[in-house]
Symmetry: C3
C-alpha cells in the first residue's frame, strides 16, 4: 500500500489531508464522524458560514453534485457549481506555447478559483485510452499542486474516495460480525467504464484492515497497486461462497487498457448466485444497468443497500468538509 494514495482531499498550504492512504484509525474515525452527522446533520451548521465550496465538474454528476450540495448546506457553506466542460478548455502541460484551443492554464485556473473558494471539489474522468496519463491523475494532481486551498476529489481518473467512505459507512452499519466477508465482483456492462470505483473500494477496504476478495474475469485484474493485499480469484462462485457483502461493479480492462474484453461466462449478479452467499447484502455505487449488471430481483430485494449507499454519500462528504473546515 505504500504507493497507494487515497487522494480524498489535499492541499499545498501546509494542511495535509489524506494525501497518503489513511491509516486504519483515521478511516474508522471518518466512518464514525459520517455516521454521527447522519444522526445530527445540523449539529455544526454555523461552521462554514461565510465560506464557499466550489464544485468543478469536468464530467457529469448527479449523486456527487446533490450530496455535496446537501452536505455543504448542513455545514453552512455556500456552494458554487461549475460545469467545466462547457466552453472552458484547460491546458495541463508545462512550458507549452498555448496557441491551440486551450484558453487557460491549470496554473492560473487553480489559483484563481482559490481566490473565490475556501474548498474546491474536482471531478474528472479518465481518457481510458492512455493508461500512463490516466494513472498520473493529472487533472486532480495539477489542481492540488497549484491551488492554495484544499482540494477534494469528487472522483478522479483513478479513484472515487468519497464513494468508498460512504461504502464503508454502509458496511459498518449493516455488518453483524466484526470481520464480514467482503467481495468485490466485476459485472458486465455495454460500455467501457473507469476503474476508479473499484480501485478506491479495494484501497479503502484493505486500508481499513479488513479482508477483501476480488473476483473478475481473466484480463480484468485491477492495477497491481490497488489489488495488492486482496484475495484475488477469477471464479465468481468461489468468491461468493460465505460472502456477507457482494459489491458489484463493472470496470474496463487495466491490462488491455480501457478495453471491454469478451467474457465467456455471464457475470451478472442473479438471485441464483446470491444464493451461494451467506445471505449477503448487495452493494453498487449506482447508476446501475438493470438486468445487465444485476437482476431486478437482486436490486429490488430487501438485501440491496444501494439506496443507503447513496444516502451515505451526503454524510461522507460532510465528514470530509468538517475535517477540512476545522483547519482552514
Amino acid at each position: 500500500m505504500s504507493v497507494a494514495h487515497t487522494v480524498l482531499a489535499s492541499t499545498n498550504t501546509g494542511l495535509a489531508h489524506f494525501t497518503q492512504a489513511p491509516e486504519p484509525k483515521k478511516i474508522h474515525w471518518l466512518i464514525e464522524k459520517g455516521l454521527h452527522f447522519k444522526n445530527h446533520p445540523l449539529a455544526q451548521s454555523h461552521l462554514g458560514q461565510g465560506k464557499t465550496l466550489a464544485l468543478i465538474f469536468f464530467n457529469p454528476s448527479l449523486r456527487t453534485r446533490l450530496s455535496s450540495h446537501k452536505a455543504a448546506m448542513h455545514l453552512g457553506l455556500t456552494v458554487m457549481s461549475l460545469n467545466a466542460n462547457e466552453g472552458w478548455q484547460l491546458e495541463f502541460e508545462e512550458e507549452v506555447i498555448m496557441n491551440s484551443d486551450r484558453a487557460e492554464h491549470v496554473k492560473e485556473a487553480a489559483q484563481v478559483i482559490s481566490q473565490y473558494a475556501d474548498i474546491i471539489g474536482i471531478r474528472s474522468f479518465p481518457t481510458l485510452t492512455n493508461q500512463e496519463k490516466d494513472y498520473a491523475d493529472q487533472v486532480l494532481n495539477k489542481f492540488t499542486q497549484y491551488a492554495s486551498v484544499p482540494i477534494i476529489s469528487l472522483e478522479s481518473a483513478i479513484r472515487h474516495p468519497l464513494q468508498s467512505l460512504a461504502d464503508l459507512m454502509t458496511i459498518n452499519t449493516f455488518k453483524t460480525t466484526p470481520n464480514p466477508k467482503i467481495v468485490l465482483t466485476w459485472a458486465p456492462h455495454p460500455k467501457a467504464l473507469p476503474q476508479a470505483v473499484a480501485n478506491s473500494f479495494a484501497e479503502w477496504v484493505l486500508a481499513s484492515g479488513a479482508e477483501l476478495t476480488i473476483a473478475n474475469p481473466s484480463g480484468y485484474d485491477l492495477a497491481p497497486e490497488f489489488r495488492q493485499g486482496a484475495i484475488q480469484c477469477h471464479d465468481q462462485a468461489q468468491a461468493f461462497a460465505d460472502a456477507d457483502f457482494v459489491y458489484a461493479k463493472n470496470w474496463s480492462s487495466f491490462e488491455y487498457y480501457g478495453q471491454n474484453l469478451p467474457v465467456e461466462q455471464d457475470w451478472q449478479i442473479t438471485p441464483e448466485k446470491m444464493a451461494w452467499t451467506n445471505d449477503a447484502y448487495f452493494m453498487h455505487c449506482l447508476p446501475v444497468r438493470r438486468n445487465v449488471v444485476v437482476a431486478d430481483a437482486v436490486l429490488d430485494s430487501s438485501k440491496s443497500l444501494v439506496i443507503e449507499q447513496a444516502n451515505h454519500r451526503t454524510f461522507a462528504m460532510q465528514a470530509v468538509l468538517h475535517e477540512i473546515l476545522q483547519h482552514v
Copy 2:
C-alpha cells in the same frame, strides 16, 4: 372531472397533496395563501431551513427556475438545480435489459434524489409524437411512484399546475365581479407546442367553480377530459363577446396529435378583437411571440396582465412549498 388529476404535488409516503383535482375550497385556499405570501414573502423564512428542494429540468426553464428559487429562498430552503438532459439518460420502462444508452432507471434515480432532497420538482415536456405515452405522463408519474419525498410538477407532458394557480391568483386580483367571463383562446404559433398550459388552465378554472369558454379552430379541441364542463366554440368573435379575461395560448392539435394544422382565419389577438370584449384583461403565460400570438398594442396595453402573472408564479410556488413543508 373524475379522471382529471391535477398533479401539482404528490407523494407516496402517506401525504397526499393535490393528486386529485383540488376541490373548490382547496383552490381558493391556495389562492389566498399565495396572495398572502405576495404581501409577506418572508413571513415563514425559517420553515425550510436545513431542508433542500431539488429542481430537475428535463427541459429548459426560465420563469419556473427563477420563481421556484425565489419562493424557496423566501421559505429558507436550499435549492439544488439539475439540468437532466445533459448526459443523463433515464430508463422508464419496467423489467428491461438496460443495454442501450440509458444508464440509470427512474426507480433508482427517484429514490436516490429522495436521499438528498426533501422536496423534488420535475419539469418534463411531451414528445408530441406519441399521444398515449404523453398522456400517461410517464416521467412525472414514475418519479411520483418511486420517490420517497413529495414531488412538484414544474410542468409535465400534459399539465402546468403552478402556472394555473398563478393565473387564478391573477384573475382573483383583477376581477371586479364575482363571476367574470373567462375565455381561453387558441392563438397562432410557428411551432407545435404542448397542450399543458391550456389543459391545466381549463382544469383549474373549472375546478374552482368558475365558468370557462374555450375558443379554438376546428381540429384543435383539447383532450375531452380537460375541456369537459367548458363552453366550447370555434368562433373567436362569439367567445370574446362580453369577456372579462382573455387568456391566449397556442397549442398543437390533440386530435391530429402534435400537429400544427392549417387554420383559415387569423386567430392572433388584436386590438380590434379585444374591442369585442367587456374591456377585458389580456393574459398569457409567456414566453409569447409578438405579432404572431398577440399584437404589440394588446401586449403593451394597460390591460395586459402577463407580467403580473409571471410575478404570481413565485407566490404560487411558495404557497405549494409551504403546504408541503407543513407536513414533512
Copy 3:
C-alpha cells in the same frame, strides 16, 4: 469622454448608478469601498438577506460567475444563475413579427426577470462581425431599458467595468508613487477577441484622472471614444520605457472590425521587454495564453499581479452590489 458611458450598473426606476462615466471622486470612492470589503468581507452580511441576484450569462464565465457569487454571499444575497444560451433565443428588435426561432422578446424577458430578481447581472459578448450593432451594446441596453430593477454589466459587447474596477483596486494597492506610469499594451492571440476589457480599462484609468499610454500595432487602435485622452503609440519599446504597470491584453481590430490582422513584430510580453520598464508590475485580466500573450517567466514572476486582480473581482462586485443595495 462625453459619449463614453461606463454602464456599470443602471436602472430605469429612478435610481441612476454610473450610467455616465463615473467622476474621479466616485471612482476613488468605489476603489476604497472595494478594498474595505477585502478586509471586512462579512461586515454587511445581512444587507441583502431576502433579496436575489440573477446572473444571466449569454456567454461562458468562470471568474465573473464565481466572484459574483462570492460577493453576493458576503452581502447575504441569494444568487440565481442562468446560462441563457441554452434553448432561449431572445428577440431584441422592436415591432417585429416573431415567427423565427426567437421565442421571447427582451421586453418581456427583462420585465419578467425583474419580478424574480432584485438586481440583474448580464453577460453578453459582441458578434465581432457587426461594429454598429456591437457598439450599440444592444443586449445590455435593452435589458437596462426594460428591466424594473438595477442592471449590472458582467461584461458587455464593448465594456467590462467590473474588471476595470478590480484593476484600479490592484494598481491602487501596488503603486508606490502618486502618479505611476500605466501602459496598456496589445499582445498576440490566435483568436479574434472583443475590445471590451481594453475599452473599459482605458475609460476607467482616464476617468480616474490618471495618465494612460496605449501601445498597439497599427490597425489595432481602439475606438476613438475610448482612446481619446490617452497617449497613443505603435511602438512597444517606447511605451514600456519607465512604465510602472504593464497591462497586456489582446483585442481584435476596431478599424478592420473584428479581424485578426497580421502583425510584423512580436508583441508578446517577455522578460527582455519588461527590462525596459521601471521594474513594472505585469497585469492581465485572465484567462491568458502562456507563451503567446506573455512568457512564462513574466507571468510566474513576483511582479505578476494577475491572481490579485482576480481576487479583487470579488470585492469590486461587492462594492457595486453594496452601492445598489443601499438604494433598493
